[in-house]
C-alpha cells in the first residue's frame, strides 16, 4: 500500500515535470506557428529585395536587412578579435590568480548589464564624447561591446577543445609559448572560435535597445554609404511597424514578415554556431 502510494507520487511528480517541459516546448511552438503562419504569406523575392514604399505600407524590407548586416559586421569587428584575444589570454596565459578571477567576474557582469544601459553608454561615449554621431559606427561599437562577453565564452570553449598534449608536444620540442599557440593551438581552434562567436553575434543582430539612440532610423531612402550614416535595422523596423507606424493594423502583415525574416536571420546564424560547436564537442570526445 505504502509502496503504491510512493509509486503514485513518483508518477504524479514525474508527470508534472514532464508537463513543465511540455509547456516550454509549447511556448516555442506557439511562437513559431504564429509568426510563420502570419508572416510567410508576405515573404517574396520582392519583399526581401525592395525598399519600403508608399509610406512603408508597400514594398519590402531590403534596407533593414542590409542595415542589420552592416551593423553586425561592425559588431563582429569589435567583438571577435577582442573576444578571441581575451580568450587566448585566459586559456593560454593566465594563472589562476586574483587578476584572472577579476577578469572572469567582469565578463559575467558585462553579460548581465541591461541592453538599454549599453545604449546609454553608447550615446555617452561614441555619439557624444567621441563625436561619431548617430550611425553604423556608433551602433556597431555599442553592440560590439555588448557582445564581447559572449564571444569570449565561445572562443574559450573552442580553445579548451584543443587537447593539452598539442601544446605540450610543441613546447617539449623547444618552441616558445607563442609558437606553440600559433602552430599547434590556433589552427585547430580558430574555425571554432569564429563560428562559435557567430552565436553571440546572432544575439547582437536581434537587439533593439542599444541601437535605438545610436543610429537606427525610421525610414531612409538609400542604403547607408558610410560608417557615419544612419541605417534601418530589422529589429527596429519591427518595433516601429508594431507600434509607431500610422496604420499599424494595416501593416501588420509587414510586421509579421519582418519578425519572420529577423528570426530566420538570427537562427541561420545560430544554427551555424550550434553545428560547429556540436562538431567540436564530438571531436574533443574522440
Amino acid at each position: 500500500m505504502i509502496k503504491n502510494r510512493r509509486e503514485f507520487y513518483q508518477k504524479l511528480g514525474f508527470a508534472l515535470l514532464r508537463l513543465s517541459l511540455g509547456m516550454v516546448i509549447l511556448i516555442l511552438v506557439i511562437i513559431f506557428i504564429d509568426i510563420i503562419s502570419k508572416g510567410s504569406g508576405i515573404i517574396s523575392w520582392k519583399f526581401l529585395t525592395q525598399a519600403p514604399r508608399e509610406g512603408m505600407t508597400e514594398g519590402g524590407i531590403f534596407p533593414a536587412i542590409v542595415g542589420t548586416f552592416y551593423v553586425t559586421l561592425i559588431t563582429a569587428f569589435v567583438a571577435v578579435p577582442l573576444g578571441m584575444g581575451c580568450a587566448i589570454y585566459l586559456n593560454e596565459y593566465a594563472y589562476a590568480g586574483k587578476l584572472t578571477r577579476i577578469i572572469r567576474m567582469a565578463i559575467r557582469n558585462l553579460s548581465g548589464v541591461p541592453s538599454i544601459v549599453y545604449g546609454l553608454f553608447g550615446v555617452a561615449l561614441f555619439v557624444e564624447m567621441l563625436n561619431f554621431g548617430t550611425g553604423i559606427l556608433a551602433a556597431g561599437l555599442t553592440l560590439g561591446l555588448m557582445t564581447l562577453p559572449w564571444t569570449i565564452t565561445a572562443s574559450e570553449e573552442a580553445l579548451k577543445s584543443v587537447p593539452k598534449s598539442y601544446r605540450e608536444g610543441s613546447l617539449a620540442l623547444g618552441a616558445t609559448k607563442w609558437q606553440a599557440i600559433r602552430t599547434n593551438v590556433l589552427p585547430y581552434a580558430v574555425p571554432g572560435m569564429l563560428t562559435g562567436t557567430i552565436l553571440g553575434l546572432s544575439r547582437a543582430a536581434g537587439e533593439t535597445a542599444p541601437i535605438l539612440f545610436t543610429g537606427a532610423a525610421f525610414f531612409l531612402p538609400d542604403l547607408p554609404k558610410s560608417l557615419s550614416d544612419q541605417f534601418m535595422a530589422l529589429p527596429y523596423h519591427l518595433y516601429i511597424m508594431a507600434t509607431q507606424h500610422h496604420d499599424i493594423e494595416g501593416v501588420r502583415p509587414i510586421a509579421y514578415g519582418t519578425a519572420l525574416v529577423l528570426i530566420v536571420f538570427v537562427f541561420l546564424m545560430n544554427l551555424t554556431g550550434v553545428i560547429v560547436r556540436y562538431r567540436l564537442r564530438k571531436a574533443k570526445k574522440e
Binding site: V24, T208, L212
Partner: protein, 295 residues
C-alpha cells in the same frame, strides 16, 4: 634568443591587454554613467529622486523626477515573471536531468537554446498581437497592455537562463548522494525532491537570480507590451512603466546635457547597480556551490 624573449613578452602583453579590456569596459561603463548622472543632482534632491513616485520631466507646472513608481513597477513585473518562470524552469531542468531519456534531452536542448535566441523585440511584438489580447480576455480587462502581460513575456525570456543553469546545477550534484539515497530505499522522486534539489539549491538559486537580472534589464518587451502608464501600480492588471522603458521612451527626446538627460543616466546607473549586485551575489553563490560539489 634574447630577441625571442622580447617578442614573447610583447605578445604576452598584447593578450594581457585583451584580457584587461573587459575590466576596462565594465569600469568605463560605470564611470561614464556616473559622470553623466551626477550633474542631475544639481537640480534634483536625492531624497526626492529616490522616494517620490512622481516622474514628470515635461510637467505643465514644475518638472518632477521621482523613480519610486518605476522601480516598484520593474520589481512587480519581474516578480510576476519569476512566479511563472521559476517553477516551470526548475521543473523542466529536473525533468531533463533526472527523468528524460537521452533522446528527449537531445530535442529539449535546442528548444531551450532557440527560445533564448528569439529577439526581445519579437517577444514584445507577440505581446501586442497575441499575448496581450489573451490576457485581456482572461482578466476581463479591455486592454491587455499591463503588468501581467509583461510578466508572462518576461517569464518566457527568463526561462532559458533558469532552465540551463538549474540543469547544470542538478547534473553536478555528486553521484554518491543519489546512490546513497536510493540505497536507503528512497525512490527516484523522493531522491530528487529530498536529496538532489536541496543539494543543488544554491546553484538553482543562482540560476533564478540570473533569470531575475535578465527580466529586470529587459527593455523592448516591457516597452511594447505594458502600456507605459507612469502611475504607481496597484495590481497586475494596471498598466506600468519600468525603468528600462522610461529610458527608451525619453532618451530620444531630450536635448543633450540637460537635467532631464542626466536624470535618465541616473536611472541607468540605478539599473546598472541593481543588476551588478544581483550578478555578484549569484556569482558568489555559484562559486561556493562549485567548491561544495567538487569533491
Amino acid at each position: 634568443m634574447h630577441k625571442h624573449k622580447i617578442k614573447e613578452k610583447v605578445i604576452y602583453c598584447f593578450f594581457l591587454f585583451n584580457g584587461l579590456v573587459v575590466i576596462l569596459a565594465l569600469i568605463g561603463i560605470f564611470i561614464l554613467l556616473l559622470k553623466n548622472a551626477l550633474p542631475a543632482f544639481k537640480d534634483i534632491k536625492v531624497g526626492e529622486f529616490l522616494f517620490s513616485a512622481n516622474w514628470n520631466p515635461t510637467s505643465y507646472y514644475k518638472e518632477v523626477y521621482g523613480i519610486l513608481a518605476m522601480v516598484v513597477s520593474t520589481f512587480i513585473v519581474t516578480l510576476g515573471a519569476l512566479v511563472i518562470a521559476v517553477p516551470l524552469g526548475i521543473g523542466t531542468a529536473a525533468y531533463l536531468s533526472d527523468v528524460a531519456s537521452p533522446r528527449v534531452r537531445e530535442i529539449a536542448k535546442p528548444v531551450v537554446e532557440m527560445l533564448a535566441g528569439i529577439p526581445s523585440v519579437v517577444i514584445g511584438f507577440l505581446g501586442i498581437v497575441l499575448v496581450g489580447p489573451m490576457v485581456a480576455k482572461l482578466t476581463g480587462a479591455y486592454n491587455g497592455l499591463n503588468a501581467l502581460n509583461g510578466s508572462v513575456l518576461l517569464a518566457v525570456m527568463a526561462l532559458p537562463t533558469i532552465i540551463s543553469l538549474s540543469e547544470d546545477a542538478l547534473v553536478s550534484v555528486p553521484k554518491s548522494f543519489h546512490e546513497a539515497s536510493l540505497a536507503l530505499g528512497a525512490n527516484r522522486w523522493q531522491t530528487l525532491i529530498f536529496v538532489r534539489i536541496p543539494a543543488a539549491s544554491s546553484g538553482i538559486l543562482a540560476a533564478c537570480m540570473l533569470g531575475m537580472g535578465r527580466a529586470i534589464g529587459e527593455t523592448m518587451t516591457v516597452l511594447m507590451a505594458t502600456g507605459n502608464a507612469p502611475a504607481m501600480p496597484e495590481s497586475f492588471t494596471d498598466s506600468i512603466r519600468t525603468m528600462t522603458a522610461t529610458i527608451a521612451i525619453e532618451l530620444g527626446e531630450v536635448a543633450y546635457n540637460t537635467t532631464h538627460y542626466y536624470a535618465l543616466f541616473v536611472i541607468g546607473l540605478v539599473l546598472f547597480i541593481i543588476t551588478f549586485i544581483i550578478n555578484m551575489v549569484a556569482d558568489i553563490v555559484l562559486e561556493n556551490y562549485k567548491k561544495k560539489t567538487s569533491y
